[in-house]
Symmetry: C2
Amino acid sequence: MIDELVSQQDALDAARRVRGTDDVAEALARVAWSVVTDPGDAVAATLVREFGPADGMRFALDARGRSWPMVRAAGARRALDEARARWRQRADPAAVIDALRRAQTAGAHLLLPGDPDWPLAVDDLDTEAPVVLWARGRPELLTSAARVAIVGARAATAYGERVAADLSGDLAAAGTAVVSGGAYGIDGAAHRAALTVGGGTIAVLAGGVDRPYPAGHRNLLTRIAVDGVVVSEVPCGTAPTRWRFLARNRLIAALGQATVVVEAGWRSGSLNTAGHAATLGRPLGAVPGPVTSASSAGCHRLLREYDAVCVTSAAEVAEMLPIDARSPHAHDATEEGRVLLLRALSTRTARTEAQLAQRADLTVERTRALLGLLDLDGLARRDGDGWRGIGAARTS
Amino acid sequence: MIDELVSQQDALDAARRVRGTDDVAEALARVAWSVVTDPGDAVAATLVREFGPADGMRFALDARGRSWPMVRAAGARRALDEARARWRQRADPAAVIDALRRAQTAGAHLLLPGDPDWPLAVDDLDTEAPVVLWARGRPELLTSAARVAIVGARAATAYGERVAADLSGDLAAAGTAVVSGGAYGIDGAAHRAALTVGGGTIAVLAGGVDRPYPAGHRNLLTRIAVDGVVVSEVPCGTAPTRWRFLARNRLIAALGQATVVVEAGWRSGSLNTAGHAATLGRPLGAVPGPVTSASSAGCHRLLREYDAVCVTSAAEVAEMLPIDARSPHAHDATEEGRVLLLRALSTRTARTEAQLAQRADLTVERTRALLGLLDLDGLARRDGDGWRGIGAARTS
């Protein structure tokens, strides 16, 4: 299918318009992957990683008779064969062109790994990372220095909505982007409060970014698509489904440097988001409420069973963030970050940006930016996939 | 002073009437200690432990010119000399007789270590254990198989009082004795609910058991002194003071096998009780509430800073208790306890009752009772201060 797409003028034109560049081979291949796969397809991710998006797809779809040379284990071969059967049913070049045209109509950006606005945070999902992201509004918010996911029950109480709004408003006013799912209840209260204080907010949808869902949030999502960003990994035109909501939750957890559940019933879907945050090693917070309120039972469960942090204020949420994300508006963050990063660098061993970010307790985005500064100052240099420190005084 | 007391007919009569026995030498000595010392006097406790209550007091008060033969370190000698000066100011035989007569008038029992109703749990306070206990009502409640301290703010909200009553009522109905401080607010709600379901409740006072405090709880404390037990370590007639409230809190924490704080402001006195529970290694629970309520701020602080368990129901409180205390009304507890205790016994090494209780996850009281049964069955025997298992099959 990929060779068919890159030889069709329609496909090339549609991709060029959405990407704003002539170099659209990878974009077409990745959009094709997003059309033929469901979110978080680990088999697809492995092929993309191994062969690149275009060759991986040739391998998966076009080389019908070809064997899988790198796969020897029978179980893995079976998984690949099953995946290939699924993908082939959806391998329609017209669907790729349709997705691109709908995106253009909706004014959606197509983000690929490596783009400046691609959030490195979602790569923590490893083989469940999204293959592309579609974004309406201000995609640069996806790489905000500080990002907190605030989620909770659709059937929220007045108490829950008030607390969500207080937390979100205070965090957004201090420069933290508020990530949520655009739903009724806690999600909506969090988005609205962030917009009200003129802060950044990210709505992650389970369907296409051109399909505001729920319908009652059409106006809210339209506002977010201007002053914030509405983002999804599924192509424009895709309807949200129960399964896509669950898959979407992992993106919310990955985009937030911490996740806070404000109100949740005993079996609330937001506990699923909390589970993803915990799996990713992201700090998890829960807001307590009256024990007499069923809407807080899920939060109390997180406190009892999942060792969530009890949070009652924006300041307590900020304590859960990486050090450099706690006061994103502060101007001395650069000097503090340089010191932390210099300590994290070794002159002997090259360390990747992710390793350095973890050692320095900085975001990957900030680590990357600071490494650029240290490089200019002659204090760090690239070495293969990583970085080393330079300096006679450093011996570690 | 002690020789003066045991030679005065007034003193002997007063002690005999309160104790109901002619053997009152230790009682007089311990009451004398409780009159001359403040609660939790570790220097006094050390002397009592080293020399016994009567000889310890002779040493402390009567042998004016005598040195302290067992103390060589200058710091410890100074502490002893200072303590002796304090004690001598209060060494009045008439005060001892007065305390005994007031107790008799109030119908208070005088409990000494070794009495069947003496709660071994308070001995966990080590050198801060009480030297005597005065009890009005049913002193046998002090050794209930299951005991939970439920404490909280005097300035409680309707929510807090409701939750305290729900927890206390459910626990007391299941056979757990509810320990609290008799104060307004949470304490009162906890006591009342336990009485309402016909369960056991223990009110630990900062002043004498003949001085109901606060005045507005005179009727409640009078009911507890009949259907439950009102207990204090200070002599009858003693007024409660701020310092005595703080000292009293350690007894509440020691008498409870777990402590639950229902509502507490940021600097509530119940956090002091929580601190004692944590110091004693007792499980600590906190009931969450609305983050918008200042009356829950102390509970949320316990959840955040002191690793308290988030509790929302009596069942969750019961999970914090030793295994044999979780269903005190169950009749198969004896067989289960025997099995646990047999596993905890070693045939090679003698273990104390406290060590065995900890290993078997049983209360000390139950461990002692079960050891008696195992002794009768020829499965365990005393060895010095501890117990050993007997049996060819046992090799541990």
